[in-house]
């Protein structure tokens, strides 16, 4: 067993895990964070996407021990009782998701993109989502919502700069 300490969504969490435990299993089974989903277990579908030290990764392909001492952000870290991440609010407005199973990973990928690039082109948005498979939506309203968030952000920045 390995003792690991991982900062998850700003909270330091500890667990004793066998070395073969994936980060995804640790999140879901040790820490009860079931927002990240198991869709394929081999890194094809992206339903388990989380941020590790700010980079999006497939939590099914990372060992929990590899995350020791690092910072992890999961879908649960994006919103609280009183606030939603702007991406979440936009996805909600457009009903961007249908069955919802891909949503947590897709939202993390979208956040990773906007953290790096607040004004992406549509191609850059599509490129950023290419590791997250969705079978319900054709990605259309997902891309639309991200585009809206970027526009709102640009407007907000513009207002601030002109003020």
């Amino acid at each position: 067993m390995h003792h690991i300490e991982v900062t998850i969504n700003g909270v330091l969490r500890r667990a004793e895990v066998p070395p073969e435990t994936t980060l995804l299993s640790a999140l879901r089974d040790s820490w009860g964070l079931t927002g990240s989903k198991l869709g394929c277990d081999v890194g094809d579908c992206g339903a388990c996407t989380v941020l590790v030290d700010g980079l999006s990764v497939n939590a099914c392909l990372l060992l929990a021990v590899q995350a020791d001492g690092r910072e992890v952000v999961t879908i649960e870290g994006l919103s609280g009782f009183e606030y939603l991440h702007p991406l979440q609010a936009a996805f909600e407005r457009l009903s961007s998701y249908q069955c919802g199973f891909c949503a947590p990973g897709m939202i993390i990928s979208a956040k990773a993109l906007l953290d790096e690039n607040p004004a992406p082109t549509e191609l850059e948005i599509r490129e950023a989502l290419a590791g997250n498979l969705c079978r319900c939506t054709g990605y259309t309203k997902v891309v639309d919502a991200i585009t809206e968030v970027c526009r709102d952000h640009a407007n907000a920045v513009g207002v601030e700069e002109s003020a």
């Binding site: 394929c40 094809d44 249908q98 498979l133 939506t137 054709g138 259309t140 309203k141």
Partner: protein, 339 residues
């Protein structure tokens, strides 16, 4: 060289089971504050059925979608439903919901009739109120009626109902009959670019016009159509379960069974054509399955338009297209030679 092409395809698609009974039932409870609770045995699988059913109940009761809470997917607490299949939920379960809400409403109308001194036939429910159709100023808040129905009259406003689509059995010899209550129609037009040296196809744009009767929720209908088109693109160009000689699947994983990613999806433009089905709830039909039906032929016809080859064996992989182009070129050369 990349060659552009466009193709059109249309289709028809039925709602509900083929002749066989496929009933749905529903229970609608109007609460004392004018909100409502809907019990349905259908299951939300992503298509948005709970939202749409809530809207249907709300419409019948004259309240808003947020005023309806939907309970579903539990054999102990929700009534019988044939389930999320055959594009039937809006049409069949929707009708059951509407009828159940109408039954609850009739109790409210009886009580409101006394309160307003207006005959029940003269009443309508709209905008959170029950009011006279002729003299809309004669009105009372739905919540007030609901409280009175329960606390003063002792008749909680509750409705339950079932619906089964009307069909006529098919003749076993000729197949003549009325297998379905109704059908929906759609057309899609695909624009593609085909690389004539590699056979690679890029789908650039799909215009989709779909009839679903009255559209209960345009946003969700669009979502279904966009998603169906994604599935159609996969079927047209890349998806296929392959077998080895012993009957084992060769590619049972998402590494080698390819479904479209965000990068493989074109610009989709959806138009929803309004029609009114006399049997559907508020004229609605359905939208789930037909969304992918015209996509494959629209794309394949566009490929023909682009490079002049017909692929009659799905999926139309780049390899099949290139080999067909080569075959066509050889045939043309031969023809020139013999001429």
């Amino acid at each position: 060289m990349k060659r552009p092409g466009r193709g059109i395809a249309c289709m028809w698609y039925p709602i509900g089971f083929t002749v066989a009974a496929n009933p749905s039932s529903a229970v609608v409870k109007v609460n004392e504050d004018g909100t409502a609770t809907l019990l349905t045995g259908t299951v939300e699988v992503g298509q948005g059925s709970l939202t749409v059913l809530g809207q249907i109940a709300a419409q019948e009761l004259g309240i808003s979608a947020d005023d309806v809470h939907v309970v579903s997917a539990d054999t102990d607490t929700t009534p019988m439903d044939t389930g999320a299949i055959a594009s039937r939920t809006t049409f069949v379960t929707g009708n059951a919901v509407r009828l159940a809400a109408a039954e609850a409403k009739s109790i409210l109308f009886e009580v409101a009739s006394e309160m307003l001194g207006v005959e029940t036939e003269e009443l309508e429910a709209a905008d959170h109120k029950i009011r006279s159709k002729t003299f809309p100023d004669k009105q009372v808040a739905l919540a007030e009626v609901a409280v009175r129905a329960q606390i003063v009259r002792g008749r909680p406003p509750l409705g339950s109902a079932s619906f089964n689509p009307p069909t006529v059995a098919m003749d076993p010899e000729t197949g003549q009959g009325k297998p379905f209550a109704t059908y929906v129609y759609a057309t899609q037009i695909a624009e593609v670019e085909v690389d004539d040296e590699t056979g690679e196809v890029e789908v650039l744009r799909i215009c989709a016009a779909h009839d679903s009767g009255t559209t209960i929720n345009p946003a969700l209908a669009e979502g279904q159509i966009e998603g169906g088109i994604a599935m159609g693109i996969g079927m047209a160009l890349e998806e296929e379960i392959l077998f080895d000689a012993e009957g084992g699947q060769v590619n049972p994983n998402l590494t080698n069974y390819l479904i479209p990613t965000s990068l493989d999806m074109p610009k989709i433009e959806v138009d929803i054509v309004q029609s009114y089905d006399p049997v559907g709830p508020f004229g609605a039909k359905g939208v789930g399955e037909p969304t992918l039906v015209p996509t494959m032929p629209a794309i394949l016809n566009a490929i023909y338009d682009a490079v002049g080859v017909r692929i009659a064996d799905l999926p139309a992989t780049a390899e099949k297209i290139l080999m067909a182009i080569k075959e066509k070129e050889r045939a043309e050369v031969k023809q020139l030679g013999s001429a």
